[in-house]
């Protein structure tokens, strides 16, 4: 039998159901590997002892009807977890232990999942390299000193390094898909309103979505099935028929019309990204899919629009971290002084930068020129997709304009960092579902991803297309366990 940690999520579930493996064995296997992998710095908080206890309890009275029967899972530290510290990667929540459970993690628990730890991420999910975390950089298991992407960098690193069989991240502008692309894993951002935001530390409420990160498309379908539900505790949650994504998974894409947006051929895009895209197009054609050239004319405005809308919402969402009720508090001469010291010391530079941008674009005299204008452009971007979907079933693009970069390489150049999200951001603005799957390597041997964008609430179609691509690409991640040896 192969190593437990090398098994895919669906295989683990199968083996536990067949009693070939116990939850305890599986849980211990991932925990042992996690313990050996501290160098990756993927975890912020570990829940090992408790998880093993839970696994033993599961094994005493196993319920094999569950979709995640005693499966250990580490999650991004943006999900509030009852009695497990939740930091959002920030000093200001360094010692915050929620008394409540986010809906998404509750769904995992309800299906028999066991939380083994909380994974590192950019502070308040603001970043594309996991370098803004108060708890330090995360290593990409692909190569030493390479960023794992962000903001769900701890998640992508832990998944690629097999510290957890699957994980969940959140995606506001690409925070699931870009790290998935950087680590050779699968990441899906569901349609806005699919997964409840209840109990997720908010970054930009109108863009935030939780989603699965897995080794392959099958695992991704299973995870999506588990975490997606209608939730009355989130007013933006949408009631629609959620499929049995895994059961319905199907690689037949005959007759499917796949759009190729010309605006995504950006200047200075590396040749290998272009070749990767062509490879995807070729596979679609070979499998009976139809390639349609489309135009998304407002693509160029997506990034500036995003960097107005997201900071605006963030500046308001982060006001609650004021030292009054919970979290870090610095001593002050008076209330204002306490606020200033608490927030100056409690937040990192990137968070402060975005709070300032957000505060600026909402201020009187600037609101119309920035925030209101951005909302109008956002509507245009959505209209672009609506128009395109009159002609196509889904859209294929690269996930990122480049492969993973070195730690520190872009830290002092925020604009270059922001450009990383150029292919992912428009999808959040339009509220659509999109999946990134590993599709090849660049010259350096770093993974590259392709993105399939779907119609709203049509996650099944993009899973199917991704499934077909995956079969034909047969990607292999060359991870050498360098951090253990």
């Amino acid at each position: 039998m192969s190593n437990i940690i090398d098994l895919k999520l669906v295989e683990l579930v199968d083996k536990i159901k067949k009693k070939e493996l116990s939850s305890t064995e599986v849980t211990i296997a991932f925990i042992e590997r996690s313990k050996k992998s501290k160098k990756l710095n993927a975890y912020i908080s570990e829940n090992y002892e408790n998880a093993i206890k839970k696994a033993k309890i599961f094994d005493q009275k196993p319920d094999f009807k569950k979709k995640l029967p005693g499966i250990p899972i580490a999650v991004k530290d943006l999900f509030c977890t009852k009695n497990i510290r939740t930091t959002a990667g920030s000093k200001i929540l360094e010692n915050f232990v929620p008394t409540y459970e986010s809906t998404v993690t509750q769904n995992i628990l309800d299906e028999g999942g066991i939380i083994i730890g909380k994974l590192n991420c950019d502070e308040f999910a603001m970043g594309s390299s996991n370098e803004t975390s108060y708890f330090g950089n995360v290593q990409n298991p692909v190569s030493e000193n390479l960023v794992p992407g962000g903001s769900s960098g701890g998640s992508s690193s832990a998944l690629a390094a097999k510290l957890t069989p699957a994980t969940i991240g959140t995606d506001t502008g690409g925070s699931i898909r870009q790290p998935a692309s950087f680590t050779g894993t699968v990441g899906l951002k569901p349609t806005y309103g699919s997964c409840s935001r209840y109990g997720i530390v908010a970054f930009a409420s109108s863009l935030d979505q939780a989603g699965p990160m897995t080794h392959d498309v099958k695992d991704c379908s299973l995870m999506l099935e588990i975490i997606s539900n209608y939730d009355t505790k989130d007013s933006t949650s949408v009631e629609f028929k959620r499929e049995n994504y895994l059961n319905n998974l199907n690689d037949n894409i005959k007759g499917k019309k796949i759009g190729i947006p010309k605006e995504y051929r950006v200047d200075g895009m590396p040749k290998e990204i272009d070749e990767l895209w062509e490879k995807g197009i070729k596979i679609i054609r070979e499998n009976g899919g139809q390639i349609v050239e489309i135009s998304l004319p407002n693509t160029n405005y997506a990034l500036p629009t995003y960097y107005i809308v997201a900071p605006a919402e963030a500046s308001s969402n982060l006001s609650r971290y004021d030292g009054v009720k919970y979290g870090f508090r610095s001593k002050g001469e008076n209330l204002i002084d306490m606020y200033e010291k608490t927030r100056s010391e409690g937040f990192g530079d990137e968070v402060k930068r975005r709070i300032m941008i957000g505060t600026y674009v909402l201020s009187s005299g600037y609101y119309d020129a920035y925030y209101l204008k951005a909302q109008k452009v956002r509507r245009l971007i959505k209209n672009d997709f609506d128009e395109a979907y009159k002609k196509v079933d889904a859209i294929l693009t690269p996930s990122t304009p480049s492969s993973a970069f070195k730690i520190g390489e872009k830290l002092n150049d925020p604009v270059s960092m922001y450009l990383n999200d150029i292919f992912t951001v428009p999808i959040n603005l339009a509220g659509l579902p999109a999946i990134s799957i590993p599709a090849g390597h660049d010259k350096k041997g770093y993974p590259l991803g392709l993105q399939v964008i779907g119609k709203a609430f049509d996650e099944q179609s993009i899973l199917n297309i991704a499934f077909a691509l995956e079969k034909n690409i047969s990607f292999k991640n060359n991870i050498t366990d360098w951090w253990i040896k």
Partner: protein, 488 residues
């Protein structure tokens, strides 16, 4: 100051100034739970016992609209004869304060749930229409307490997230009396609708007062000042009076009014500058992305319209037509829904005229004296109705009725039993009365002689003597009749 013809003018150096007043009333929505959470809104509980994770703004917590509060706002809008906006938007009003856990208040800014409406005031010289600009829903903040701990400010979040309706009037009010009438009428409408209990002591009704002055005859409005958070009609009037006079003084000295926010100091009876327009907060309003725009359909609004009870203006009209009451009487009886209910219960089974007089006379005096509401009246509507019937059918006189009423005050006793127990039944037997009268005539021969020689005024003396001898029980009408005959 002059109040001639109901006008409220400030006179300085022969200049007459008109005072322009607009009110922003914050009325607490009558609701068991808060606007966006399920916490209780009960008044007077231990600090921080009615606080949910949403109210305390814990990470990842999201607001969910309490449908009941929406219904209450729509009801109030209908009561104010206002447009109900089928699409309204909740915005975030951003500012930092210790008792504002989210760092923003969820309110409605550009798209309120209720648009323009009006309120009719009954002033001594006729009706006056006051325009309503808008009504919107918003969250209340918590309470900062500065005087318990000498070193620290304490925060109570029980009120945090409680639903408020902010009802903004147009600058149509012109006097302290109108302010009084406006608040009372607004309160009355909301109590009829059951949308706000109007309890000012518990802070269910507070107002920000906008005041400006202009020379009488000027068309242009003067610069206004806003006096924040005044919590009684008396304080509103004191604050307006002080502020209007202050503004006139400034203008008379050649100065200009700065648009600013002021506070009313109830102890010193003065308003003080809190912040100028330049220092005004930039609240950075924007639509709350956690809440979708609120969409109401016609069916929903029509359904609520069907459940709207008869409101004071309509009730007044009906009372005048059906019961032939004077507008003055009708006004008093409809001013409060509980009074009108009491009146209708009493008048259902007894004489309307007597019911009106007894309620507005004896009963109101009693309520005033005890400082209680009509719902706490020691005399039930049923017993008052019986008392009135005893007067009407001649069982007791009006005077005896007053002493029966005195007994009823102490523990709602039924007047029929009181009359029987105390033997207060009116003496109406002509023979018995004749005996009493004969006795008085025999005992007062000199007065009889004087009366017969033209001293008509002495008639009252004889009546009085007869009543006295009967312990007040003699039927005064019959005594009059018999006496007239005997003395002629």
């Amino acid at each position: 100051m002059s109040k001639n013809n109901g006008e409220y003018l400030i006179i300085r150096n022969d200049n007459k100034y008109e005072v322009i007043i607009g009110l922003e009333v914050h009325a607490q929505v009558l609701s068991k739970s808060k606007l966006f959470s399920t916490s209780s809104t009960k008044f007077g509980s231990e600090p921080n016992t009615q606080v949910s994770l949403v109210d305390a703004a814990f990470p990842g917590m999201l607001p969910v609209i309490n449908e009941h509060c929406i219904k209450q706002a729509v009801k109030t809008g209908i009561g104010l004869k206002a447009n109900i906006n089928k699409r309204s938007i909740f915005d975030r009003k951003n500012y930092f304060y210790a008792d504002l856990p989210q760092g923003y208040q969820i309110s409605q800014y550009k798209n309120p749930i209720v648009g323009e409406g009006s309120i009719i005031l009954d002033m001594p010289n006729g009706e006056k229409n006051i325009g309503i600009e808008r009504l919107h829903l918003e969250q209340d903040a918590g309470k900062s307490i500065h005087d318990i701990d000498p070193q620290n400010t304490l925060v109570d979040l029980n009120r945090s997230g409680v639903a408020l309706m902010e009802i903004v009037s147009k600058p149509d009010l012109r006097s302290l009396d109108e302010v009084n009438a406006y608040i009372k009428k607004l309160r009355s409408i909301m109590r009829y609708l059951g949308t706000c209990d109007g309890n000012m002591q518990e802070g269910s009704l507070r107002a920000d007062v906008n005041v400006s002055v202009r020379k009488k005859g000027d068309k242009k409005l003067g610069t206004r000042c806003e006096i924040k958070n005044v919590n009684s009609i008396k304080f509103m009037q004191m604050a307006i009076d002080f502020e209007a006079n202050r503004q006139v003084d400034v203008i008379e000295e050649g100065g200009f009014i700065d648009q600013e926010t002021r506070l009313f100091d109830t102890k010193k009876n003065e308003t003080r500058s809190m912040r100028s327009k330049e220092d005004a907060h930039d609240y950075r309003y924007f639509p709350d992305p956690d809440l979708l725009p609120l969409e109401l359909n016609d069916n929903y609004i029509d359904q609520i319209k069907k459940d709207i009870p008869e409101l004071p203006d309509e009730k007044k009209k009906r009372f005048i037509e059906k019961f032939k009451l004077s507008p003055y009487e009708a006004n008093i009886l409809v001013s409060d829904i509980e009074i009108s209910k009491y009146f209708e219960e009493v008048s259902k089974n007894s004489d309307v005229k007597l019911a009106t007089n007894w309620i507005t006379g004896e009963l109101f005096a009693l309520l005033n004296e005890k400082n209680i509401e009509i719902t706490e009246s020691p005399i039930s509507s049923k017993n008052l109705s019986e008392l009135i019937n005893l007067i009407k059918d001649g069982t007791i006189s009006g005077k005896i009725a007053k002493s029966v009423f005195e007994i009823m005050k102490d523990g709602d006793k039924d007047p029929i039993s009181i009359v029987e127990e105390k033997g207060l039944k009116q003496q109406s037997d002509p023979k018995e009365l004749e005996n009493l009268i004969n006795k008085v005539i025999t005992e007062n021969p000199k007065n009889v002689e004087a009366y017969k020689s033209g001293k008509d005024k002495l008639f009252g003396f004889f009546v009085g003597q007869v009543m006295k001898n009967s312990n007040g029980k003699a039927n005064p009408k019959l005594v009059n009749e018999i006496l007239k005959k005997k003395l002629s």
